[in-house]
Symmetry: D2
Subunit: 413 residues, 4 copies
């Protein structure tokens, strides 16, 4: 029986950072201040649902600000982009403690700061929802993302509420500007309970993998979010997730991310995987010290930078060959804009002879909608040039065989 | 002879926006104010060097702020990240006209605003370079990126210098804080000449494609920049390229971009393509009105959003089959972290029998370094489990056949 | 029977501004929005207790922000400058609605903005006071200043509390930073009741005259505040009383002032008089439109500018004459530093002859403490030079007749 | 021969602060950095031209920022308030080094910061003046204020210009916004030469005394400035003279002031005196450490606080007596608004009998214009009530004897 090297690698990373004991526990809630500072965990979950983890990956802690991107996604799914944008802007913002971070229209600057997150929370389940119904809606949805029933740490929430002056200040100002309508106390209660949902590092990896996968749960296969919602959520994590280090983080780590004061940190590579770490000691900016280190190492070692240009697409057109009167065009890889452009480029350059053309999709992995349109347009042009066109698609990667003009293309079997 | 539909599509996009005549010409330089407002062009260049364009794609105009990301890349290439970061920070920043946008350490906030760009310009060719030598270095490098000899509009530069009080103000303040050492006048002269380099929309598409391709020129194949330099340049374009609309742009368009007051606008999809548009009328934020429209449509129609999750990697492991004592593992597509994870996952799950294992790379397009390491580690584990391991690599996509422990793997031919 | 021209003058001023109907009623409280916009009044009260008024000088309205300087004075009187300064800073500050105006130490910028005024209110009657006790303390003290029992408009206060989100936001933030300890709701309740104390324009003139008079009530003669408290209160009105117009107001009107959203406006000339106006329509900065006009005219017509240099002190030394062996030094006017300097200058220049010197205070109006010290020092030097010194003080303006060395000077009757 | 105690008092103050050696010399100009840190001086000059000084009162140093209020006064005198206000605003402003302190209309915030002072300098002698002519105009005017020919330290100015990047930055930005039209270099040269005018502490005391005296030189008696110009200059010193300590300074010292980096510090009490100190070591805010101490002590000891309410006007109406058919009203002191109000109040309350009324001005020191108007109005009403009115004015303090209706009042001799 072979062993999997990825967990070993994750263990190595944990070992590298384990001795780092700098940073401080969050001190504004007694429950956080008295937490065990030592737990350390990392977990990855691919869009295919493979989970790898190391360390204390089953210790539960509260999501805190990590709940923000998931609540934002839920609000977008429920209300749509326009309604959400009317309440909360999308611009980067430091989160200075004695400012409110509202923009010129008195909207919170973005959904990743407290002002924005409180406003987003209020959008969920309708503005006339009770606090309990709204929180249950969120808890239920987060549970679906995690693939298990999550619970709320109500003792911690209670404790947090006792010292929630900053959030109450924000909620009253949001009410003052008409951004929220609910009572300030209820708005903060609702947001605080959202923050107090308990997760493990593995839970977070699974939850983020759903965002990475365009909304399809990597394990249950259930479609939980629209692809556009995921795209918007990742975008705002990229531009505003790491507070006033957003630009530095995007340059050096390159993974859209969000941290929570309980010590969690999540990151997402679109189309690839979700990442989560847990280590409670925080740097002065409120991010987990060891979590940040792990992310930097993962980005460096694994080529997980969003702006990585190294995966230059290979040749989507593997070959164009002729056998008698038949020309075979063999495609390979994932068909996106670039790949379909390669196809079009190749057929325009090619001097077709004979009477028929076969598009061989045997080595094709997937089709982006734009690629379907572009490749069908190319096939139509070949046909219009007088050739009979066939498609060879043994794995059924192409959803239908219509040309761009609606006529049907023949299948080659 | 087939015709290529992409230029037709680009013509359609131009037709859609052609009637939009809102916006104003930049008015602070007579030459810009008196420019023809009507030209309209778009061009794409893939990392493979295929260029598509429509409209007035051969009209020359000055780069202006579009020069910033290329100069930043050149400075990174010459001086390295640490030296560049010592001069210029990486955080998003509005570009309010009556502020200087310096951070707490009196560094310009990022290389995409004038203060940062003037400081970056000074790093090129060494701080003791003459203005002419520095500008020639930049012009020469930009020409290499464009694939033709670019020239400088010295008349326009002269005119711009006559009213360059804002940049002179910035340059003196940078001198005041020791960010630059050169004479303020020379620094502004040098930067203004950089901005006055003339390009066509096609030139810009080719230049950006080099950044998309990790530094390899898409046509000449010449390696002009390190992949890391490209990654950093794209990152800062994403976080700061569109001034105070950065967050909104990243969410809704999702293409790292930069605009210039002469009417140019560029965007880059890492690993895929470079995009450029030209239309001189500007919106109040200083971005080309029609250029912005074209980018939004390209992003929507072509699935070119950076956070797109729709191209979920297909199954990197196409099949595991056994023929007598030999097990064949057939891989497909581009081998990145996700793909190699799929490989490891598959071999760990698989119950190997027989005596030998063949890794079939026939359908593999490319290898990211992390994938090479991970797959070799997997092969070593198979070998250590008692199997003889072979690699079938007819297209030589794997650079060498060493296991992760340095021993040599056999090739199956 | 003669008639007094001052009220006539005040009537003329009111007539001049009566037709000005620009401006809007404050709209954030229904009671203010539905108020009668037409009332117009002006009142002056001298430090000697002479009151002049015109217009609707007996209509009651709520003090609102006009309560701030009086509450500040009360807090200073109760707690001292050091304790008050620990809570609230003294620097000018705009009062942008979506900022909190805290300084680098998280103290409110000054006592004239809401954040500062809420913090000041909490200092009164001790931090463990009930709301009702604190408010009664304030009402009682304001009543003493006004010279009649003032009442609180509790209906308006109730209405204001229903929409007090902005102040609640501020109170929670003050609690967050430890500036106040009371419950946010109670702090805002307490401050709102303070603002809802009802006064007439005449009341305000009398109240401000007490501050002008160094704390002695101009009518009852009761000493209500220390001179230093009055000095500090006037200072902060001068630097921060008119929000972000403070500099412009100080230059062009030159009267320390404070406005309230119910339409009141007060001003103080130290040592001279208190001024109050009432007209409910406000300009965009929240100051009474007609009130501002009246103040400008009063300042221009009556030479009431704080920086007025026109009242150059006359010759404090009226004459030095000799009658036989006796030299008479006749002083005149108010004896301050400048006057006593004149005295010293004169005696040093004078060539005394004979055997005795008489200081004639018959025409002296008053003595500042520094003048007492300086003049006594001068007398001692005359005595030390061998002359017998007498003081002629028929009106007893000099409190005692000791030389600066403690020996007693003789009185000349 | 008597000795004057004021210089002794000043010596005592110097002795008290002499041992304070904290603070640092300004280090941005070699000439300032290498200056002798030890000189210590204080000087007062009354509006009557009496000068008192102690310490190194004849050492020359450059005015630097102390030149700002005098240049502002000159610009006001030459161009008027409206033209000056079009260029420079009047609001308080910190002087953060990496901001430009422009307001929403791109005007410098006030004339006491460098941006404002450079703009003010440009207004003097017309915008088409040569630098040398403008500087000579300023030097000449400053010399008139000082009462001797001042010279410019051109070596120091030269040295300052070599590192004048901050001012050049400001000048270019002012040009950018059209606040100034001259070449940036010339504007900074002109301003730098203004700052390099050399004065002694005694010079400064005399110069400030002119502002205190409403524009009349205390020694030469020459009218150099309008009273209104002085009032505006003092106002802006009060609100913006001490940078971001303006509010604190106004509260605790209460003397409109301005400091210079060469170690000078000036203050003005309107109508009373000018004060100057010199000690080169600066606190972190750029104000002379010992100078600040001296001002605090002078304010405390001498009652020189602008908001002092202690000099409550005495009884302006000394007595009303009747001798047969004649009623004598004896006035005393300086006749300002308050005094004339007392007069009006008294005559209205008084039950006149007999046939004639004599206004006795024998003890009156001076008349403010408003007092002239008000008292004449009162006299007219007495006359209209049927009495014959006479004025007794042996010292000619009243300029003419017309009633408020233009008819002539009789003089009683």
């Amino acid at each position: 029986m072979l062993t999997m090297p990825i967990p070993e690698y994750l263990h190595e990373i944990l070992d590298d950072v384990r001795d780092t004991t700098s940073g401080e526990l969050a001190d504004y809630i007694p429950e956080l201040k008295s937490a065990d500072p030592n737990p350390l965990a990392v977990a990855l979950c691919t869009v295919n649902g493979h989970i790898y983890s190391a360390g204390d990956d089953d210790i539960e802690f509260t999501m805190q600000s990590i709940s923000k991107p998931f609540a934002y996604a839920l609000a977008l799914q429920e209300c749509g982009f326009d309604e959400v944008s009317a309440s909360v802007a999308l611009e980067p913002s430091g989160e200075a403690f004695n400012e409110l971070s509202l923009d010129g229209e008195n909207r919170p600057m973005n959904p990743m700061i407290n002002a924005g997150a409180i406003a987003i929370n209020q959008l969920i389940n309708g503005s006339d929802s009770t606090v309990e119904d709204r929180v249950e809606k969120i808890r239920h949805y987060f549970s679906e993302l995690a693939g298990r029933e999550l619970t709320i740490d109500r003792v911690l929430a209670e404790s947090e509420l006792a010292g929630a002056d900053r959030n109450l200040s924000i909620a009253h100002m949001l009410r003052n500007y008409g951004v929220i309508e609910d009572e300030a106390h209820d708005a903060v209660l609702s947001y605080t309970l959202q923050c107090a949902i308990k997760v493990t590092t593995r839970d977070l990896a699974v939850m983020t993998a759903t965002l990475a996968a365009g909304g399809t749960h990597p394990i249950t296969g259930k479609k939980l979010l629209d692809a556009r919602v995921c795209r918007l959520t990742l975008s705002v994590m990229a531009s505003a997730g790491m507070y006033d280090e957003a630009g530095q983080w995007l340059s050096t780590v390159g993974i859209p991310a969000k941290s929570g004061v309980a010590g969690g940190l999540i990151g997402i590579l679109p189309g690839q995987l979700g990442i989560a770490t847990f280590s409670p000691r925080l740097n002065p900016k409120g991010n987990s010290v060891r979590g940040v280190k792990i992310f930097k190492q993962l980005s460096d070692d694994m080529g997980l930078h969003l702006m990585s240009t190294e995966q230059v697409s290979g040749h989507a057109v593997r070959s164009i060959t002729r056998d008698g009167d038949t020309t075979f065009i063999q495609m390979q890889g994932a068909m996106n804009f670039s790949a379909s452009e390669s196809f079009l480029h190749a057929i325009v350059e090619h001097n077709f002879e004979g009477t028929e053309v076969v598009l061989d999709l045997t080595r094709v992995l997937s089709f982006h909608p734009v690629a379907i349109r572009m490749i069908k347009e190319g096939l139509k042009r070949i046909r219009d040039a007088g050739f009979e066109v066939f498609i060879l698609d043994p794995d059924d990667v192409l959803p239908d065989f219509m040309f761009s003009d609606g006529t049907i293309c023949k299948e080659r079997v």
